[in-house]
């Protein structure tokens, strides 16, 4: 199978149980997740079990009607599910989360499937609004045309007289501001359990 990218067609095939696509999915993410899991659990059998659990959960979401709305986010979604599975494994063993995973908390999302995240979703939206309000008008317009209007990036660059590097730096600055404010707000609640994961 010729793989180009995780796109809507790929997800559709995965949803319909296409064998070739499933094989690709397992091979692609199996290799990546096994490497991570193997270094964090005591046996290869446990790593294989956790990997299977990860795939089962991901495929369950994929096969839900509106489970994954952004095919290009499949990779990070598998990573977050894998992290959750690993966390649950640690908890079941009554062990502490390894210190190296200090950032392994998964950001809540107001579109999360977990209803418990709805309140945090509002808080997150406020942070995003705050971050956007802090940007110059032109940068806000650039982000609007990129994210909301989903315009071609080259066209946006042309219209605003900027280059691709400017877009990357703008996204980087906004993201850093968001992370900073989010972690600051979340400071008091840090360690009280992560959300169910962002919607992919």
């Amino acid at each position: 199978m010729q793989f180009e990218a995780f796109d809507a067609l790929y997800l559709k095939r995965l949803q319909e149980g296409d064998s070739q696509t499933q094989e690709h999915f397992v091979a692609y993410f199996g290799e990546l997740s096994q490497k991570k899991l193997r270094s964090r659990v005591s046996s290869s059998q446990q790593a294989a079990d956790l990997c299977q659990e990860t795939f089962a959960r991901v495929l369950r979401v994929v096969r839900t009607g509106n489970g994954i709305r952004h095919p290009e986010r499949l990779g990070p979604f598998v990573v977050s599910v894998c992290n959750h599975v690993l966390m649950e494994h640690y908890r079941s063993l009554s062990r502490e989360t390894p210190l190296e995973d200090e950032h392994s908390e998964v950001l809540p999302d107001n579109r999360s499937l977990d209803p418990l995240n709805s309140a945090m979703g509002k808080q997150t939206a406020e942070i995003v609004r705050h971050v956007l309000d802090g940007l110059p008008e032109r940068d806000r317009r650039v982000l609007k045309e990129l994210f909301l209007d989903e315009r071609d990036k080259d066209d946006v660059c042309h219209d605003f007289g900027v280059d691709r590097d400017y877009l990357r730096v703008l996204v980087h600055r906004a993201k850093q501001a968001f992370k900073s404010q989010y972690l600051k707000d979340k400071g008091a609640g840090k360690g009280n359990g992560a959300g169910a994961g962002g919607s992919p």
């Binding site: 392994s104 579109r111 956007l132 909301l148």
Partner: protein, 227 residues
């Protein structure tokens, strides 16, 4: 890909903007499994993108709502130059036409009607007019036409009705005449509304029970307008 390389390449930003080649994308996704910091970075980026969409779309709705005037202000919109100027121009044309054409014409008609004048009454003789003897009357536009009519009185009728029918057969006016008045010539004034043409003056007899009226006289009357 390791973390310093991911930072150097701005891999997170390129990943979020979908700018990585398939090879680099796989390499970065492999890195994501190992690097919780980059994974957190990517998740934060997605939350920022989704949140921005919400904020921008809600802002767009607010702006749209703000641009829609409330009900009280809708009246003010009529005073916008785009509407007010053509309306004023049209009003000026109407007022001008009334002042220059309609009003003088009506004044002239009223003055003509109020001024003493000699009316040459058209005499319609009973019996003689029956049939095809059409009477021709020439008058000025909007002027009344005086008629004198002999009604062929019959004892079975207690009253009579004179009707003027337009060239198209519509009733233009009607005049009740008592049996006593019908003993003499009846003078009347009619105002033809349809201009020139052949009108019909029809006389009906009304019996005592007043159940029906019987046509007893029909006089064609050709009206000519003299400007």
């Amino acid at each position: 890909m390791d973390h310093p390389e991911a930072i150097r390449l701005m891999a997170t930003e390129k990943y979020l903007l979908n700018e990585l080649s398939p090879e680099l994308r796989k390499s970065f996704e492999e890195h994501l499994f190992e690097c919780s910091e980059c994974e957190f970075d990517v998740q934060a980026g997605y939350v920022l993108i989704d949140g921005s969409k919400d904020v921008f779309s809600s802002t767009a709705v607010e702006v749209t709502k703000a641009r829609v005037p409330g009900k009280p202000n809708q009246w003010l919109s009529w005073f916008r130059p785009a509407i007010a100027v053509p309306v004023m121009a049209a009003l000026l044309v109407v007022v001008g036409y009334q002042n220059l054409i309609t009003v003088p014409s009506l004044k002239s008609a009223v003055a003509a009607a109020q001024s003493p004048q000699i009316l040459n009454s058209v005499y319609l003789t009973a019996g003689a007019s029956r049939g095809s003897n059409q009477v021709t009357v020439t008058t000025k536009r909007n002027h009344p036409v005086p008629l004198t009519l002999d009604i062929p009185a019959e004892s079975r009728f207690t009253s009579y009705v004179c009707e003027l029918q337009s060239p198209s057969g519509e009733l233009e006016g009607s005049l009740p005449v008592s049996a006593e008045a019908a003993r003499n010539s009846v003078s009347m004034t009619v105002y033809p509304k349809h201009g020139a043409g052949v009108y019909q003056l029809v006389v009906f007899g009304v019996a005592q029970d007043a159940t029906a009226k019987v046509e007893i006289e029909r006089q064609p009357l050709e009206l000519r307008i003299q400007d």
